[in-house]
């Protein structure tokens, strides 16, 4: 069991994210764009580290293909 305020919420989310990452990958959207990590309210530095790392990852990946597709359609 996770330590979610709502008992199993974090576990439920984790399961969904595991699925979604693979579905995204198959549909051609980099799975690194979705990330799920359990950080408690007492773990500020872990949260910061994770967010900075995630931001870096996203920057390296560049704009989302969805956005590019949207722009093309709008044009």
């Amino acid at each position: 069991m996770g330590d979610c305020h709502y008992l199993y919420g974090n576990v439920a989310t984790e399961k969904r994210v595991r699925f979604l990452k693979k579905l995204l990958a198959f549909s051609g959207i980099e799975e690194e764009r979705l990330r799920c990590k359990w950080v408690s309210s007492a773990e500020a530095s872990e949260f910061v580290e994770e967010m900075q790392d995630f931001t870096e990852t996203l920057r390296a990946l560049g704009p989302s293909p969805l956005k590019q597709a949207g722009a093309q359609r709008a044009a």
Binding site: S41, A42, E43, A44, S45, E46, E49
Partner: protein, 448 residues
């Protein structure tokens, strides 16, 4: 904790001590001293701007002195109330120096250097003593060389090192390495200062300090000002050389990966506390598992006489730690810890299976210290008019396990006896029930 802070029926008096208790069950009059915070509780929003600006740096007791805080501070980030407090021992203003920066910073106008302790009397029907315990001081055990060997730490110190919100952000830097890093910081500061001074000379005389010094050594210059320069340069070299050595040394620093946990430090020991504290075995297992989660190469050895995994899910957790987190459990009473190379602690013990004495080197040793009765328990017991038991915890009996020897006064948690969190929480509820019974009874008496 937040729930307590917000509960309409709870008046939280933090930073307050009990001085006198009069009356009887159902009608106690308690005199308490609300210690001066020098911060107005009603005005402080806990925003922390004051602590950010405060110039005085103090070792942080919450982080077991492993980190620092300011002279105006909150005990820890999620603490309640979030009201900040000025530490009168370190505050510049309160020690007669000129400062008052916090007062200027605070937009809520909450700082009040004139505040004094307030003595307040409160009327209550029942009292619960939940004053917890103290960590046994392992320097009383000379053979473990706590404080002599920097990488021998107590479990609670280790807990702070492992904590993501702790002084190292959860990375297991060894205290010996942290000390070197602190020294590097200090030397760098010094070097920057002397560099500045040298630069002034260099600009004045238009040559580099090293060139100048060569000439000076050859006796080319004799004047006082040049002598000052030379002295400054010598001093600078005296800073920079050890700094470089230290820096080279620090390059080799890694996080601690070989951990030893020593159980029953001060407990199950006739010299100190004869009892078993009950929670330390699981605490060590938990710390070893978390250390392994942080750094998968970590291995831990837990030295104990018995591993007491007696709570719900504990044995399963212990086994998991062995199977998945690189923990080995060794049945042994450690005889001695010595210091090896690189400040590595060496643990000497008898391997009872092989019947040989072994010495094994670790990166760090964690002492699972006894749950010692609170140092101030005797004084509180005196004030409350209750008895302590032979071990120094509040005395109770089996029929009413949460009642002290004085009606209307109850106890729970580690003030009662050593215990783990679920047991403490359950007892706390029990003590609340006993207190409620007293209150209801006295209400009924009044009504009839």
């Amino acid at each position: 904790m937040l729930d307590v802070g917000r509960h309409p029926n709870i008046e939280l008096m933090a930073y307050t001590e009990v001085e006198k208790v009069e009356g009887e069950a159902g009608d106690f009059r308690v005199t308490v001293r609300r210690k001066a915070r020098y911060v107005d509780e009603d005005k402080c929003t806990g925003c922390g701007a004051c602590a950010e600006k405060c110039p005085t740096i103090v070792p942080d007791a919450f982080n077991q002195g492993l980190g620092t805080r300011k002279a105006i501070y909150s005990w820890f980030a999620q603490g309640i109330p979030s009201t900040h407090t000025i530490d009168p021992d370190h505050c510049r203003q309160l020690n007669g120096k000129k400062c008052g920066i916090c007062k200027k910073t605070c937009q809520a106008d909450a700082i009040n250097f004139e505040q004094e302790d307030r003595i307040i009397e409160v009327g209550v029907g029942a009292i619960i003593a939940a004053t917890g315990y103290d960590v046994f001081d392992p320097s009383k055990i000379p053979e473990y060389r706590y404080r002599e060997i920097p990488n021998v730490v107590t479990a609670i110190e280790f807990e702070r090192l492992l904590s993501a919100s702790g002084p190292t952000g959860g990375h297991l830097h060894r205290p010996s390495d942290l000390a070197v890093e602190a020294e590097i910081d200090a030397l760098e500061k010094k070097a920057r200062k002397s560099e500045k001074a040298l630069k002034r000379f260099e600009e004045k005389y238009g040559e580099s300090s090293s060139e100048f010094f060569e000439k000076y050594e050859r006796g080319e210059y004799q004047d006082d000002d040049r002598k000052k320069w030379a002295d400054k340069f010598k001093e600078h070299l005296g800073t920079v050389k050890p700094l470089e050595t230290l820096k080279r040394k620090a390059e080799g620093f890694t996080v601690a990966k070989r951990l030893a946990f020593i159980q029953c430090v001060g407990s199950r020991d006739f010299r100190f506390y004869p009892f078993c504290s009950g929670y330390c075995c699981m605490h060590s297992v938990k710390e070893a598992i978390i250390a392994h989660e942080h750094e998968p190469e970590t291995t831990s050895t837990i030295f104990g006489m018995d591993i007491r995994a007696v709570g719900k899910g504990f044995e399963e957790y212990k086994i998991r730690g062995g199977n998945q987190s690189g923990i080995s459990y060794v049945r042994a009473r450690v005889a001695e810890i010595t210091e090896g190379e690189n400040h590595n602690p060496i643990v000497t013990y008898e391997d009872t299976r092989e019947r040989v004495v072994k010495s094994v080197e670790f990166d760090m040793v964690i002492l699972a210290t006894a749950c010692a009765p609170g140092k101030e328990a005797p004084e509180l017991a005196r004030i409350l008019g209750v008895e302590l038991n032979e071990f120094g915890f509040f005395k109770t009996d089996r029929a009413q396990p949460l009642d002290t020897t004085r009606p209307g006064i109850f106890t729970c948690g580690c003030a009662h006896s050593p215990m783990d969190i679920p047991e403490s929480v359950a007892q706390a509820s029990g003590a609340a029930a006993r207190a409620a019974q007293v209150l209801i009874e006295s209400q009924m008496r009044e009504a009839s």
